[in-house]
């Protein structure tokens, strides 16, 4: 995939080409999730809504920002679903099972807790690298986002790209 990537994919922006503002916006996609999670703890959906909003607002700014916001958004989907599963299961135990739990519930609780912890750690790492203007790929979500953003088959317009009418011309010498 890497060998052929030059022809199939747009070249990756290098840290010295990425303006400070873009790095901060890319980093923000990971960091704003923490605030959203804190707000959304009772109902783990607000973080996803916030991630979608952040993605929609920032995705056209540049490929670098698009990649990081998409990776942040996509990687939140499974954790959100897992957290929802936990919430529904716990509510069922609370309301219908008279607090009777099974080993599968406790196993799920621990595994989802670990998944959230890993997600937290990798998001912090990704935010750190984004701030440095570097790419950071999560397992699966990194490759998927890279393909969606950098593939030449995707016709996605970024701010300042396309529809440029050339009016200023050099003098005829």
């Amino acid at each position: 995939m890497i060998e052929n990537s030059q022809s199939i994919y747009y070249p990756l922006p290098q840290p010295n080409e990425i303006p400070e503002r873009e790095r901060e916006d890319a980093m923000g996609s990971y960091l704003m999730m923490f605030a959203a999670v804190a707000v959304a703890l009772p109902l783990p959906i607000i973080n996803l809504v916030a991630a979608v909003a952040y993605y929609m607002v920032n995705r056209r700014k540049s490929r670098f920002i698009h990649f990081h916001t998409l990776q942040s958004l996509l990687s939140q989907i499974p954790t959100t679903l897992l957290n929802w599963g936990l919430l529904i299961w716990a509510a069922q135990i609370w309301f219908f099972d008279h607090l009777e739990t099974t080993n599968y519930f406790w196993g799920y609780l621990i595994t989802v807790g670990l998944a959230n912890l890993l997600y937290f750690i990798f998001s912090l790492l990704a935010a750190y690298y984004a701030r440095k203007g570097q790419m950071y790929y999560f397992i699966f979500f990194g490759k998927f986002s890279y393909h969606q953003v950098f593939s030449r088959t995707k016709s996605f317009k970024y701010e300042g790209e396309g529809d440029i009418t050339i009016e200023n011309q050099p003098p005829k010498m």
Partner: protein
């Protein structure tokens, strides 16, 4: 997009499931010494037989202030006949059973700590045969034998309050404990456990375990499923399973049921 990307997704999903299963079955992999330590810590939250008896006495005194004992020779002898059937089997139990009938229209039975069981006259009137009352009584004995009553009290009011009652207690706390037991809400597994223990007892007492299912059916026929009076047995929406379990309960080949002799029509009329 490369298949390898989707393979990564598969790895994530499989990894999650494997870790989930690992944690779910972790107790099985713990060294025995750890498991024993956990068991000891859990057992710390139980009472001695003597404390349980005292607890039962105090709560029963409190409840008997609210309910009037039914003193009726016909009913007494019918209940005694059932108790006599169980007697040889439960004589090995650490509990000394004390079964009473109180005047109340509710179709209910309350089990108190220390082997005290209170049957409501409403339940006796509702039952279609002495075998059905025997099945209910066996189920309640099941709760006692499996220590569900004490565990329920410990879980709901805590060890400190339970010990306050045992050591002389104050009336308010005893009343709280009595109210907790009146609600009679047990977990699904505890109900199933009490059913199983009760049905074993019925078989040993030469009474068909189907009597328990027959009682549930009788309740269902009367469409009383969600009547709060029946909360003690109708806690969970799986009565059909419980009926099936009682009907398919394994009966030894040499099982010979001996019908209870009480004239049930007279017993019901006497209430």
């Amino acid at each position: 997009m490369s298949k390898r990307v989707w393979f990564d997704f598969l790895k994530l999903a499989v990894g999650f499931v494997l870790i989930w299963l690992l944690f779910s079955n972790l107790p099985d992999y713990l060294p025995e010494s750890w498991a024993e330590r956990i068991a000891i810590e859990t057992n710390d939250l139980t009472l001695s037989g003597q404390d349980e008896e005292k607890l039962g006495e105090y709560i029963m005194e409190n409840l008997l202030d609210e309910f009037q004992l039914l003193e009726n020779p016909t009913t007494d002898s019918a209940i005694q006949e059932i108790v006599n059937r169980f007697e040889p089997i439960i004589s090995n139990s650490p509990y000394e059973y004390n079964i009473m009938v109180v005047k109340h229209d509710q179709i209910n039975a309350i089990t108190l700590p220390g082997g005290n069981i209170i049957l409501f006259s409403g339940l006796i009137e509702f039952a279609e045969s002495p075998e059905e009352v025997a099945a209910v009584l066996a189920h309640e004995i099941g709760h006692v034998e499996e220590r569900h009553i004490v565990n329920k009290l410990l879980a709901e009011i805590g060890l400190t309050l339970v010990m306050t009652i045992v050591t002389g207690g104050d009336a308010t706390i005893i009343h709280t404990a009595a109210s907790t037991l009146l609600s009679n809400v047990f977990s699904r597994s505890q109900e199933a456990e009490a059913d199983q223990t009760g049905m074993k007892l019925l078989v040993q007492a030469q009474i068909y375990p189907k009597a328990l299912g027959s009682f549930f059916n009788h309740l269902n026929e009367q469409d009383l499923d969600y009547n709060e009076n029946l909360e003690w047995m109708m806690t969970h929406p799986h009565n059909s399973n419980r009926v099936e379990e009682s009907e398919s309960f394994p009966i030894p080949s040499d099982f010979k049921p001996i019908p209870l002799e009480a004239n049930w029509t007279r017993v019901r009329q006497a209430i």
